[in-house]
Structure formats: structure tokens, C-alpha cells
Symmetry: C2
Subunit: 322 residues, 2 copies
Amino acid sequence: MAKKILGIDLGGTSVKMAIISLEGEILEKWTIATNILEEGKHIVPGIIQSIQEHLERYQLSKEDFLGIGMGSPGKVDAEQGTVIGAYNLNWRTLQPIKEAFESAFGIPFYIDNDANVAALGEQWKGAGNGARDVVMFTLGTGVGGGVVTNGQLVRGFGGAAGEVGHITVDTETGFDCTCGKKGCLETVASATGVVNLARQFAEEYAGDSPIKKAVDDGAVSAKDIFDAAKEGDYFANEVVTKFAKYLGLACSHIANTLNPSAIVLGGGVSAAGEFLLEKVSEYYYAYTFPQIRDNTHIMLATLGNDAGVIGAAQLVRLQVGE
Amino acid sequence: MAKKILGIDLGGTSVKMAIISLEGEILEKWTIATNILEEGKHIVPGIIQSIQEHLERYQLSKEDFLGIGMGSPGKVDAEQGTVIGAYNLNWRTLQPIKEAFESAFGIPFYIDNDANVAALGEQWKGAGNGARDVVMFTLGTGVGGGVVTNGQLVRGFGGAAGEVGHITVDTETGFDCTCGKKGCLETVASATGVVNLARQFAEEYAGDSPIKKAVDDGAVSAKDIFDAAKEGDYFANEVVTKFAKYLGLACSHIANTLNPSAIVLGGGVSAAGEFLLEKVSEYYYAYTFPQIRDNTHIMLATLGNDAGVIGAAQLVRLQVGE
């Protein structure tokens, strides 16, 4: 029987797990709630128990698996297989994840941060379609990212490659970022970033707009702004244009440096879909070297919530060299 | 006897060649003039003949070599081993370089563009000191670059990775670039780019300065401007500050995306040395994610004119997998 891979996508509210073929097909998948009580000490035992139950149910044993892959929030040490500072899991201290899984299952275990793992998923089976050079932006509460070159994840010297949310896109009047810098992409292209732009524009915009009123009332989301823009609201469209300019600029930096096959946009903000893609691409092409513009395109992520488990499986494949 | 590598650095005025050990030591090196007459048709035969003469002189044969590596101007197809559009060599049509060398010597031949090859040289034996993740900017007449991640050269999907000179650093009032875009790094950080900045500032600067006078007379070089800045000339210092801001910003984009061990500055403009490094680093650190700032540093290239031949040897090593 062909080997399989176990993929785990660990998040602050739920843990997604899947049994995946070497070709990237999801054979079984299930989800459990993340129990973050008592400094998150039940998380790993809970995942292990759930996997053991499912292996039993499907009459599978460790011999059926090439390995286990996991994407996690926080600061992940891929080499040691540890996580620290994952605050949405209540993991403040160093968690020896790899050790726990390898002693429970006796098969190879690999872990990386969730943004890198999602990028691997989209590179392998999503918008990247298996290409060797793919970069992903995850536009959510913050902006994360992952970089794949020559078919391998780029971790960088300090393990912090892919911090594309902290590319400086405004050197003059940029918003303060939680990282301590100013003008980071995250301050204008995350869900809260879009609202930052709307608030700023509301201060200078004298015209009338239902969405401007909602901004003034402090009751607006990125989705509201994109929805209003799609319906032709001038105020909202101006905000989306600013967003698109900054994100298009950041994408052009990636393209001019790496010339990947695809720059993939995922995460909640990217749900604005083709409308968003078109606006961002307009600025992106204007800022990108002509020879690269012809073959590096921005694409929407296609895997949705499956990117994490599929990417976790790809992490195993790349490490094991399958 | 341990195998050696032949490294060739093909330029518009001279061809540098070297016999290099697998450890990157230059054992012999020599230079011939580049004969670009008759559409550059004498270039490859001239190099082959010169190598044959030197192998005879040193009593070496093809069995002594792992392969031949070459860096070339123009658009290089690394897979096919061809070059096209190298105008400073008069090579307008497709040149089957690999074919010519392999039929002459019967050993593997690898070629890449000169900026990529210089980056490999600095990565292996220069400022990169063998690190797996190194990016180089070559600040010359234009601005070129090369990207090494996970110990491998990044060519990208269309072979145009490393076009860091076309990173857009000014979206508002940028200078026109030869590539057709506006505000490219090359328009402010190359030798002519520094002069562009000086001319622009001369128009708004009312004060007195010998270097401003030279700018107005149209007789100033990037070197003059850096020299004057070092001597405390206010006008020149303002120009260098603008240059440093743009280059520091572009370096920060690389760092935030790839977190390499080193971002190496080479080429003629980088001869301004520590003075330049300090100014660029100041802006670079301000624009770089704190966790990355701690371990990705900007460094000056150390190999000078040897980067090309050493990088050509590294190209062979990486391809052969030594």
C-alpha cells in the first residue's frame, strides 16, 4: 500500500488534521477544538489522542506513513521541532512538539510556522500548481507570508524569511506597526490595515458615503469596505485603491527579486476575490520589470482552509525527499 | 591529483580566466582582451585558444577538471547554455556557448549571467563566507544583482530573478528608467543614478558648494560626490543621504523577504566603502523587521575583480554537486 502523510494545521480555535496521499489528495480529514486551558498543555496530547483514534478507526498503523507534518502559530524552530511564544495557544514557554510526536508515533515529524506551511500548500496543490518558485501573502488579522524557491522553503539565516507583512511600503507618513516600525505592509493590507486606511481617508474626505459614516461610527470591517467598493461607493473605492497600490508595490518587490511563477494572495482579506486581484495587479504590473511582468502573475489562493494540512504534508515530502 | 575548475569572467573589455581549486583558491589567473569585432565571433574561439595554451603551459588536461564555469553579460539561458543580446560584446543573435566549449574540451560547461555569477563568488568566498542565504547588489553603470537561497542560485521562472536594480523605490517622483518604468533603484543607486540625484538636488539647492558647481557644469561623477561628502560638503552629503535611503529601503525589502546572512554591496559605486555602508545601514535598519535586523547585515563585497572567476567556479560546484 502506498505511503500516506499526516498533516496537522494547528490554530487558536481549532486543529485541522488530514490523511493525505503522496500525490496531495486528502483521503480523510477531521477537526478538533483547540484546548488552550492551563497554558495550552492539553493541546499536543489532545492531537495525539485524536490521531491515534482515527488511525485505529481507519485500520492504519505507523508503517503506512511517511511522516507527520504540522503548521503552528508562534516562533517555530524547524530544526529542533519546538515552538515558543504562540500567544493564541497560551504557549509562552518552549514546547518540545517534535519530541512528543516522535515518541508517540515513532515516525518522522516536521514542523514549521503556519504562514510557511500555507505557502507550501498553495505551492504544491493550490494556485502554484507544483511550480518551483512561489511566494504567498496571507492577508488576515496581520500579513504573513512564505517563500518557496527552487522547490524548497526559504527559512533564511534566522528563520524569519517570509516576513513580507513588514516590508516597508510607506516611508513618509506610515502607520505605526506592532513590530515597532512604521509603514509596514501589514498596517495597510491586513483586515485592520484596510480599516486604518479608511479612517485616515475619512479625516480628509468631505463628501458623503454610507461607508464613510460607518467608519466614523467605528463600525466597519475590511469586508464592508470591499463590498461597498464593488457596489461603486466612491469613498470605499479610494480606500481600496490605496490598499491595492501598497500591496501591488510589495508584490513587485518580490517579483523583481525572485521572478516566481506565482505570487499567491490568501487569507480573509483575499476573499474580496477577482475585484481585489484586478486592482492589485494594475499597480503590480506598473512597478514590475517588463521581462518579469510577462511571467510572474498574482493569483488568488485556491485551497482555502485546506492549505494548512496540505502544506504540512508537503513539508514532510520535501524533507523526506519524496 | 585533486580536481580543479576553470572559471571565466567575460566582460566587454577583457576576459578574466582562472584555474581554481575545489576549495575556491585561485591557482592561476590570466586576462585577455575581448575582441568584439565582426559581431563578436572571435570571442569564444579566442577564449578557447587561450585556455588550451594555458593548460599546455601548466601541463594540465581535461581529466584535471570538474568543469568550466562562465559569467556573461546579456540574456543567458543557463539550461541551453546560450547567450543573446549582449550588446557590449556585439552579440545580437543567439550564441551557442556551451556547445562550443563542450566540443572543444569534452568536460561539463555551465554559464549564467555575470550578476548571478558575481553573487555566487561573494556567497562562496567573499563577504558571504559560504553562507546558504546571500543576496548581492552590484552597483555599477546600472544596478544588477544575484540571489542565493538554501545554497542555490535563484533564477526564477523566467530566468530574471535578481533584477534588484528594478525594485521601485520611488512611486511618486521617480526618474525614468531605461527599462520603461519609473523610480527604479538603478535610477538613483547606480553611478549615473547618484548623478541624477545630484542634478535634481542642484535645482532646488540655493547654497554654495564646489560639488554643486561641478554638477551644474555637467562634470561630476558618483565618486566625486562621495569624495566631497566624506570631506563634509553639505550638498554632497544631502545627495548621499538620498542615495542611502533608497538603497537601504531596497535592502530592507530583501531582508524582510529572505532573511539572508548577508546583503553584499559590490560594483564601482561600492568603492565608497565604509562611509557608504554606514549611511545605507542606518536607513536599512530603520526599515527592517526587528528580528531580521539582528541577523541580516549589509556588507561590502571583498573579492573585487575576482568575484567573477570564483563565482564561475562555484557555479560548476553547485551544478556538479561537489
